[in-house]
Amino acid sequence: MECLIVRNTLSDYLDSGLPETEAHQFAAHLTGCENCQKLELQLAEIRMAARDLPLHTPSKALWMRISNTIEAEGMLTDPRATRPMKKETLLDQWRNAWASLSFPQLAGAGALAALLVAFGSVGIYRQFNGVVSMGAMQTSVLPEESKLKSEFERKFDAFKAKMTSWDAQRRTAFESDLSRLEKSLDACRTQLAAHPQDAQLIEQMRQLYAEKSALLDQAK
């Protein structure tokens, strides 16, 4: 048997993957060939060491990240259940868009947002000078929210009578969509309370109310 053949199929020999006759020829060659024997020992050592490699430890925060994601995705109630794809609200889309931005894009967007807020604040101040003071804007997260809210409630009250004729599936789907929009609004409201001047959040709130209204129109 030639060295070249032995060296090309040595792993098969080490893993007992050769037919008996060939394995005997291999063994005979190895006994008489010092170079092939060296190689065999080296590969055997690597093979043995691979079974006993040290384990690595991830950061301690990893479990927290996992459990938070599981909770956030609402998998705790019944992880086996197949869930329909959630319809993304505008807030979800906005969050996803931010999450996918690279650092330079984020930096650019941040600068643009700062400019918008600066110009927007001046504009709003000038437009409502004497009517809505800057101090009032700090306390009211969205100045026209109460108006938007009452408009929606009026529309919804008139709509409730129609819901009684719906079947359970339709009612559940509608309530689920409405509830998600409410949650998005709550999240947006909380963020807006922390950043009352954030023009994008203000716009987001308005769009969420528009989405709620559109939900009623669609259901009609």
Partner: protein, 188 residues
């Protein structure tokens, strides 16, 4: 294939059942038992700590979704490791990682130089050095080496998982070992 820590107080199967009912403390125990092996497997396959953590996170989230389908027919570790391997391979596909193409006969020319017998054999294989050397392997060799020599998969299984022939899997394993030998010899 992979040792199952069945001597622990609560079996993996019981913990899996409890986790499938939404018991997070049971799932945390599963995490505690297996996360180092899952992370090490991810780390060795991708050779990047941040990516390995992200993959480990994804594996555990997927595990939580699928844990109810574990019926205890195989060892939990085997099941979990297969889930991990599949997830990492899916990650490779998404990233467009190309595995080395190898003929079943292997590339004889590449190891021609070994005939000269010029390199001395290492006195022992340092585990840490081997771990580092594995990270230097090309992705295809690395994957086959990890699956066969570390995780204990058979060539047939590897062929099925990677969509290659058994001969290709054997050939890549041999090349991986030869490359590791070169890398380890260089470090001595």
């Amino acid at each position: 294939m992979i040792a199952n820590p069945s001597n622990t107080a609560t079996s993996d199967y019981e913990l899996a059942q409890a986790s499938s009912r939404g018991d997070m403390s049971a799932f945390e125990q599963i995490y505690e038992r297996h996360h180092r092996r899952v992370y090490s497997l991810c780390l060795r396959m991708v050779a990047n700590a941040t990516e390995a953590e992200d993959l480990t996170q994804e594996v555990y989230i997927q595990l939580f979704r699928k844990i109810g389908s574990f019926r205890g027919e195989s060892a939990f570790t085997t099941w979990l490791h297969r889930l991990t391997v599949n997830h990492v391979l899916m990650h490779f596909r998404k990233k467009g990682v190309k595995f080395e193409k190898t003929t079943e006969e292997g590339e004889i020319g590449e190891i021609q130089d070994l005939i000269q017998g010029g390199t001395e054999r290492p006195r022992y294989v340092d585990r840490l050095a081997l771990d580092k050397a594995i990270a230097e392997l090309p992705p295809g060799y690395r994957t086959v080496f990890i699956l066969h020599d570390i995780e204990g998969f058979e060539h047939e299984e590897i062929g099925n998982i990677l969509g290659v022939s058994t001969g290709t899997s054997k050939s890549q394993l041999h090349k991986a070992r030869m490359r590791l030998r070169d890398l380890l010899n260089k470090k001595i």
